[in-house]
Structure formats: C-alpha cells, structure tokens
Amino acid sequence: MNITGLETLVFGVEDLAACRQYLLDYGLHAAADDPNRLLALDGSGVELYPADDASLPSAPNGCQLRLAVMGVADEATLQAIAEELGKDREVHRVDGRLQSVDDAGFAIAFQVSRRQPLPLIGEISNAPGSPIQRVPNQLGVVAGREAIQPRALSHLVYFVPDLAKAERFYVERLGFRVTDRFDGVGPFIQPAGSLEHHTHFLIGAPAFMHGVEHFTFHFGGPTEVIQNGSRFVKAGYQAFWGPGRHIFGSNWFWYFNSPFGCHVEMDADMDLHDNTWRPRLAPLGADASQAFLLRRRDNWMPGPGTPENGDYAN
C-alpha cells in the first residue's frame, strides 16, 4: 500500500478557542477558508471541532483525537485500501476521504496526498571539510526572526490496549514496516510510501490509557526546535521533556503539555530508512531513548553587571 504518511489530525475539543491559540502559538497558521484548520507549511495539519460535533467518528476513552488522516500516492492505492479493509469492516467515502477504523479502535482515513511540495532547504551547519556549507554572509541564527513555522506533520503515538493486534493491522493490512522496537513497549512503524523513521509509534498500555501519547510536526532543524520551543515557554506554555535528541530516529525533540489530553512535540532531523534497514530492538530506558537531554534556562550571560554567581544566584 503506497501510504505516504499522516496528513491531518482531526480533534474534537472542549475548549476550541484555547486549543486553536495553542496551535497558532506553536507555529501553525489558519487555512484561508477555515479558521479551525491549522496548517504547517506543506498543508498538512490539524482540524478542530467541538467535542460534541455529531459528524465526528467516536474515539476510545474520551480521547480527543477523533480521526487520523493519512495520504496515499494515488487513486489506485485508495481503491486497494478500500478492498482490503472492506473484507472485514465498514469503509465509506467522506469528503474525498476513505474512512474506516483500525484494530485499536481509532478512526482512520485516507486521501490522495494533498501535501504541497516544499522548495526549502533544511538547517545547514558549517563543518570543516563538509562540501555543503552556508554560503558566505548567510547567517545561522537570526535572533529576532519572525514566526517559526512547522514544515510538515510528522508522527502520532498511540496507546493501544492490544499491541499485537494493532501492530498486525498496520503491518499486515496496510503494509507498514517496523523500523525499530522498544522491547515490551512497541514498534516504530513506517508506511511503504515514506522513508521517515516513523510516522506512527505504538505503545502497549492498559485500557484506561487507551488514546494518544503525542503528535508532532517537523521543523527545519534543531535551531528552529529550540528557538521556537523557547518562545513557546516564554509565552507561558509548559514543557514536559526536552529539548534533547532521540536515538531511535535521531530526531531532536521537545515535548509540551497541551489542552489536547496528550503531549505535543516539536521535532527535527529524523533519520530516513528504506527497506534494507534491519530493525533494532532495545529495552526501554533513559539511555536508550535519548542521546542527550538538555534543560532550559532563562537567558543570562556571564560578564559585567551579572550578579555574583551569575543567574545561579537567584
């Protein structure tokens, strides 16, 4: 199945205005035709509805994520998915999307990809010997730069009560590949039409956790993640974990609490893998999960005018 990745997450929320402002401050922008559709630069994003909107599919356990929409390469893939899933469940078309449900009880949908191509380069660091450098006079950091915008919807992490069943669905029915696995926790999975280390991560969890752990967008590089995350903290949002860099996937991360009942991450620079990659297996632990973890502080500078002990004085 030529599934290319996640394109839209549909949420039903209790405080729509707060959720919307959160995503705007995170860096998404509102679609021209719908203020409650918040987009990354490539057009992927989040749709917000009131929790009691009757048109939304149901979700387990009060989970606010009501639908995860994936992109596919073409109409033929859409047909193939309709046939495959039609064998044992209801599949219907809504707004050009093919909608059904996965084996963990989450509503899913597919659409011919609507992502816009992004003619942008990522963060480039100058390193001695590297043939690719920033051109002379191009700056690595622009302190007062305007809004930092996420580039593309990245991945979604589900808590699922029956891990084996959920994994079988994505791997055997939809053709996802396992790229890496945390022992006793779950697999990172990648659809056949994507090279990203993961677009989904499945975590086996008790029934009362059934829901979403986090979702995240890709930023242009680590500087954007940390600069944007620092602004987010200054705006009053509450960091949960990070900034740091994961080992599986190599992505930079910074996780924040959110009004969505799950974490929201900012990420950058994830590994790509093709089908020659052999999945790794690691026991979950602090050292397996991150190469390093940093801790944010208010800006300060040693020098004249700094109190004795610098910022540490207070």
């Binding site: 405080d15 707060a18 008790p206 752990e213 009053g236 509450q238 959110s258 009942g261 974490h263 944010r296």
Partner: protein, 128 residues
C-alpha cells in the same frame, strides 16, 4: 525529576492575597528555573487547597498546559495535561486516568488575618 536547588530569601514571603484567588480558579506559584511552578493553589467552594505541581503518574511531572492552567475545561477538577489524569480539587484524589486512586501531594498554607497567603512551613518553599 531532580529537586530544585535551594532558593534563599524566600522564607514566609506571601504568595498572594486571598482576594487574588477567585472561586473556581487555580494559580501556580514559586517558579523554578525551568519556568515551572513548584506549587499551585486551587480555590474550591470557598477554600484554598495547595498542591505540588507534580503528577503522581510520572514522579514530578508538571501538570498545567499553560501557566496557571491546572483545571479541566469545565473548571471542576484538577487535571494533568500530560496524559489527562483528573483529580478532586479538595482531596487531591485521582479519579480518572493513569494514576487512578493516587493522590497529589498537599502543601499546607497559612492565611494571615489580613488575608496574605503564604506557606505554613516557610522551609517548604525551598524544598518543593
């Protein structure tokens, strides 16, 4: 989560005045150097309840999603915005979510006759 280093000169400093805490509201106090408040106070049915900003689900995890945003959308429960645990605002008991049956850690308050709210044990300021 590591304990924050000692905060000098914080003894018995009033956190706020009673009149600043409206019924059904919550507010965080004593921010650490990460910008996370160490405690928060909920005003529920005319009484103040102070809790450590530390979810029992993952030891020490901060609970608000934005500064002072410690309550559920309907304002009736304390909520951890990491994984959605909900707590009774007066007993601190988790009634929904991954730490069901566990409790928030309470922090004793002192309210002066003039209505200044401070920690009952000023040394706590330095260790929560």
């Amino acid at each position: 989560m590591p304990k924050s280093p000692t905060v000098p000169n914080c003894h018995a400093q009033p956190l706020c005045h009673l009149s600043e805490l409206g019924e059904g509201s919550a507010r965080g106090f004593l921010p650490d150097e990460d910008g996370q408040d160490r405690i928060f106070i909920v005003c529920h049915e005319g009484r103040l309840h102070a809790w450590r900003n530390a979810c029992p689900h993952l030891a020490g995890a901060p609970m608000a999603w934005k500064r002072d945003a410690y309550l559920s959308p309907d304002g009736r429960q304390v909520m951890c915005h990491a994984h959605g645990a909900r707590f009774e605002p007066d007993s601190g008991l988790c009634v929904h979510g991954p730490c069901l049956g566990q409790r928030l850690e309470s922090v004793a308050l002192h309210i002066s006759t003039s209505g200044q709210v401070s920690l009952a044990d000023p040394h706590l300021t330095c260790s929560v």
